[in-house]
């Protein structure tokens, strides 16, 4: 199937790559189908709505930052990354992780009731 992305233009992906978020993402509940792309030269995964190309952002594995980050069985926890031209201002959302089961191709977003996890955690240091 063909999908349109802001980052990579129009691309062809196999249908079995589509990840279903039954409840969507917070604030974007109407969109339930996504693809997770990992360009060779990119540190980030790129998460794109299949239904609305304007909804697309980088994701980064939260266990890469915090070995003890809570994960559910078979689901990997990703944080939504907010880019900035200054790497020291690039942040990752540790408060509302995106959980993805890459085998079953399903996912969901959660808000963790834990004040230790910031919505804007600085992802890089010099």
């Amino acid at each position: 199937m063909k999908i349109t992305t802001q980052k990579f233009g129009e691309i062809e992906i196999p249908e079995n790559m589509v990840i279903v978020f039954q409840n969507g993402l917070f604030g974007f509940e109407d969109y339930t189908k996504f693809v997770l792309l990992k360009p060779d030269n990119s540190l980030f995964f790129w998460f794109n709505s299949v239904e609305n190309p304007e909804i697309a952002f980088p994701l980064f594995g939260l266990r890469m930052i915090d070995e003890d980050y809570p994960q559910k069985e078979n689901h990997e926890a990703f944080g939504i990354v907010t880019l900035n031209p200054d790497p020291l201002k690039v942040t990752i959302n540790m408060k509302a992780p995106v959980f993805i089961d890459q085998d079953k191709k399903t996912g969901y977003q959660e808000i963790l009731d834990n004040e230790n996890f910031s919505l804007y955690y600085n992802l890089f240091v010099e």
Partner: protein, 78 residues
């Protein structure tokens, strides 16, 4: 908005599955207990709003911002 007056230990039902109970009241704080089915998500509104705002910001910057990460490393939680 529906406004109800309740005393400590009294409850409110929202539909048949959700119960809200007033646990305690102090000067400027109310402690509330909520019973709801597992599929009902409960959030503090200000946190929920900020989560959405964060996603909107990430979406806005994603396709336009270029960032050179060559001299930086991942900031790990200690």
């Amino acid at each position: 908005m529906l406004i109800l007056t309740r005393r400590i230990e009294e409850e409110i039902k929202i539909g048949k599955d959700i119960t809200v109970k007033i646990i305690s009241v102090s000067d400027n704080q109310v402690k509330i207990g909520i019973s709801a089915p597992n599929n009902v998500q409960i959030f503090r509104s200000e946190v929920y709003d900020k989560v959405i705002q964060n996603t909107v910001e990430a979406t806005k910057t994603a396709s336009t911002v270029k960032v050179d990460l060559s001299n930086y490393k991942i900031h790990k939680v200690k």
